[in-house]
Symmetry: C2
Subunit: 594 residues, 2 copies
């Protein structure tokens, strides 16, 4: 299993990775290499799937990759890799995605694409929109790996049958997994692009064990790693035996090969080339297609797997380290894949910006992190001192830009136009002057601006549009405040002791309520029954519902929960549903207001 | 057909509308009243569909509405209205929307919900995400309206069979329309929430004519009106005979009743109550369910339809008037439904802000439109004069806020930190100072900030984040620049003659290219083959692709095309696919940069 970091849209770079990692795997003795889902295009490609020229480029590139592998003496290594294909023969009609794209996987062998198959179950929940992008596949391919004795030195005495399914095919009932036992495969290989959520690696293991049992086959689960906009793919590839025994587990958040020698039953049944339609157990029909691979010389392959190259078990990460590394990888890849090298952010002396700066330093190196202290007339010496201490400890760049003169200039010009000089608007004005300052410095030097808001604030709308919410990426936008503190303690960063609860309730109380309302989608009656204070329930529901517009304007950031504010929680902006709440005060945090 | 303006989430208000409009229709003699899709909840409800308490409230409310109608003496008027229901008996599983919601329609009769059905075909393309939200329905209900002679005075001598389908069921092959002929219905009534696109009313007419022919029944197409975030529902309800003859056509963008007396064949077949499963022609099975309605007294109904109350044909709108009215309705409803009463915008003296101000004045009245002139050291007397002339002609509020002192303050503080005082960053700084000014005035007075950018600029990324893109709603964000001019001419507003092509190519040339690239999704080879200049193709593709992040931060605005930047064109932000383009200059308009 090659769990590598593909980049969305970079067909040439991703093709090179397939060739490079296949070469390395073969040198370690691998005869089958499984890459992640949509390896060649990256995942998710969103509306690129509907663009004919992009689909065409994917199809041409996968064929060229097959040729390159053979030219390098790797034609006898079976390579399974995800790519974007199309379903031929479907006339355009309403409801069919344009061009009938397929979330496909190819088997490359002997210089050719010998098999192409496509994902049968299309996820269309949470962060997934796949009915928008793909038509479902309806086949289970089974290829027979020939016995060994190739020039590469492999000596395996018997042929083995291997089936291919893709990602969501494991998660839903029926389909390819349900018919694998009938197909008689000894191994089911599964390319995946399964995004990170806290603790999801354990869910995947249980899933793979159940599917291996159902399929009556060993199961190789090869998962993508890397950040793509809000999604972080964590790897953690898995290999389980037909009886559910865990045989290998890859690391999270790292590119790596997981190389293991598998003891599989030999292929015995007939090779039915014609295709065999069977009931898929989900109201559809799956066609089992067998392919017998001809032996092909692989002079560049290394033959036997050396026992000392096998490191099949990487340790599981503790909870806080897992979350922290997800955030670091999200930031690193967003910066790198968008062509930046450095970041800039404001330091307030508080815990949110301190944690964000530390994540950034771990992601791109402290020498690429530029911080700005922007004291106002209200800033305490204490908060400035805390920020300066952080800069020194982490080795970051820093500059001080006082904002008082800009704020004064605005107030002088706006007062005649009816702009008061105290209260909420003045606080927003300060936040916006800081936002303009950071963007100006970003313009001048080409740093990406990082936003430092946390999920609790984002939920309640406690941010200023174009002020503290300005920026290119929000590293902790999916991190509740209580988790911010836990991560800071875990990272052993200097906790500054600053209180910024302002007029929000205590974060322990608020986050427990947000967890039930946002993550679990409880209604007000359920929330009160669960023990939350009725007044707080009413107040928080109102805040959270009214903040939808502000959340949509917030920069993307790495997703770590099942209900992040981004791809997988979407409500109307214009929304009169105020369950159990008094009428909202118009305009306070309504759309377009700070 | 009652084509009314529902508000998302306002169950109480929408319920009142059902009762009110049924009363009016009955007074005009209607025996069947058809409301739009999801009338009771508004459309689209997005993730509210997945919230159990919201679904529960919808189900309880539709039952209460049935009771209220009977209490008002309207129990013998057959009312068909869309609402949110759930499919009972489905255990939670991966891939099933939480709670198994249904995009449902109820028949209210005699104080009860006599029939409930649900949309069979779920659209999941363009602006629609319905596999995320709903499970498909699988029945075709047919109700037999009893013969007349009720206390309301109706004298129709024979019973009539009426079937119900919902919106997308017309657009896709097979399903309810395909089995309506078998079911023997004389009339097919169809609640819709079909969003506006330029010229779509003609497409709908051809669709209804084809479906009426397939169903062998007259077809009543009742469509929603009103703005909901980016979507504008235009109404334009249609009634066609089984032979395709157009019998009635409602107005666009107005709430109204379309009342017509229909001459329909009498019901003759048996009433098969048990339900009859038939092949739906799309790989599924539809169950036809017949219901015979008991005669119910309707003392409040008016009996016969008076010939002089029938005004079945509203004129079709000319193209530019149609687009303009869509924009006005989008703005009016976004302002009103979000609890605002007034708007504020910056006037530059250019055509974009002039058109936006005029749309705003038509939407909320000139007395609710506040304009701000924000001259910099570079502003010409000419542009200030043009803006003042517009304010005078339209009767708007206006104030002048010079921005020079704020810009000077920023430059003085930022210069030591490496911020240059000329070039691109200085232009962005001015735009941001204007954005902060507008937001400050908005804070102080509670006006919604309108953004004035057009679709051509939005496509190419020619806007400044947190500057001219700041605001709550963007009235012309889906309007190409060439159409801005056409609309301005149509509205007979003062065209200012200002040139703002800046470094973009001529808008006639640019918009033709954007139309092929954005709307038609052509690749670079196709674009060049279509006659576009190869250098321009390369340059524009690069600009458009890099601007995805900025588009996501742009405020919502009314959709008028098939590929607006909002709900129905989504690409990854991090995207290495640069088809036919040279390497992008990093950072110029990359994510997070201005």
């Amino acid at each position: 299993m090659a769990q590598v970091n593909a980049t969305v849209g970079d067909l040439a770079g991703n093709a090179d990775k397939i060739v490079d990692w296949t070469r390395r795997a073969a040198q370690q003795g691998a005869r089958i290499v499984v890459f992640p889902e949509m390896m060649l295009t990256g995942y998710p490609v969103e509306d690129l799937a509907l663009r004919a020229s992009f689909v065409e480029a994917s199809i041409e590139t996968v064929q060229r990759v097959a040729g390159r592998l053979a030219e390098e003496g790797l034609g006898g290594v079976a390579v399974v890799a995800g790519y974007l294909n199309r379903q031929a023969g479907l006339a355009p009609r309403t409801g069919l995605p344009a061009g009938a794209p397929l979330d496909a996987a190819a088997l490359l062998w002997g210089g050719r694409v010998v098999i192409t198959t496509a994902k049968h179950h299309l996820p269309n929940y949470g962060v997934f929109d796949e009915y928008r992008y793909f038509v479902p596949g309806n086949s289970l391919p089974v290829f027979r790996m020939p016995a060994g004795g190739t020039p590469g030195g492999d000596t395996r005495p018997e042929a083995v049958d291997v089936a291919i399914a893709i990602c969501e095919d494991l998660w839903q009932q029926g389909g390819p997994v349900a018919v694998t036992r009938q197909a008689g495969a000894a191994l089911l290989v599964v390319p995946n692009a399964s995004p990170y959520e806290r603790g999801k690696d354990d869910v995947r293991l249980a899933l793979c064990q159940r599917c291996a049992g159902e399929a009556g086959a060993a199961l190789a689960y090869s998962n993508l790693i890397g950040g793509q906009d809000e999604l972080v793919f964590d790897g953690g590839s898995l290999l389980v035996a037909a009886d559910g025994e865990l045989l290998a587990r890859g690391p999270q958040f790292e590119e790596t090969l997981i190389v293991t020698d598998l003891d599989l039953p030999a292929a015995t049944g007939p090779v039915r080339l014609a295709g065999e339609p069977v009931d898929a157990g989900d109201g559809t029909v799956i066609t089992i297609r067998h392919v017998e691979l001809e032996p092909v010389a692989s002079p560049a392959a290394g033959g036997q797997i050396a026992p000392d190259t096998q490191v099949p078990f990487w340790p599981s990460l503790p909870d806080h380290e897992e979350v922290y590394r997800a955030l670091v990888l999200g930031v690193r890849d967003y910066v790198r894949k968008n062509g930046f090298r450095s970041v800039i952010l404001g330091l307030s002396g508080g815990i949110d910006s301190a944690l964000t700066a530390t994540i950034a330093a771990d992601a791109v190196g402290p020498d690429n992190v530029y911080t700005v202290l922007m004291p106002s007339r209200y800033s305490s010496d204490h908060s400035i001192g805390d920020a300066e201490e952080l800069v020194k400890r982490q080795g970051l760049h820093s500059v001080i830009v006082p904002i008082r003169s800009m704020v004064d200039a605005f107030e002088a010009e706006l007062a005649p136009a009816g702009f008061p000089d105290t209260g909420l608007p003045a606080e927003n004005l300060q936040a916006r002057v800081r936002g303009v300052t950071l963007m100006g410095l970003s313009n001048a030097a080409g740093h990406l601006v990082l936003t430092t808001g946390n999920k609790s604030e984002l939920a309640a709308g406690y941010s200023t549009l174009y002020g503290d919410s300005a920026g290119g990426y929000g590293p902790i936008k999916d991190v509740l405040k209580t988790l911010v503190w836990e991560l800071a303690r875990w990272r052993n960063a200097a906790a500054t002791g600053q209180q910024d609860t302002d007029s929000l309730p205590d974060y322990q109380v608020l986050d427990a309520l947000l967890d039930d309302y946002v993550e679990k989608d409880m209604g007000s009656a359920q929330l009160i029954a669960a023990g939350h204070d009725p007044d707080l329930v009413q107040r928080v529901i109102r805040l959270v519902d009214l903040a939808e517009y502000k959340r949509r304007q917030y920069p993307p950031g790495p997703k770590i929960t099942s209900r992040n504010f981004g791809r997988d929680r979407r409500l109307p902006i214009t929304n009169a549903w105020r369950e159990g709440a008094v009428e909202p005060p118009p305009g306070v945090i309504a759309p377009g207001e700070p």
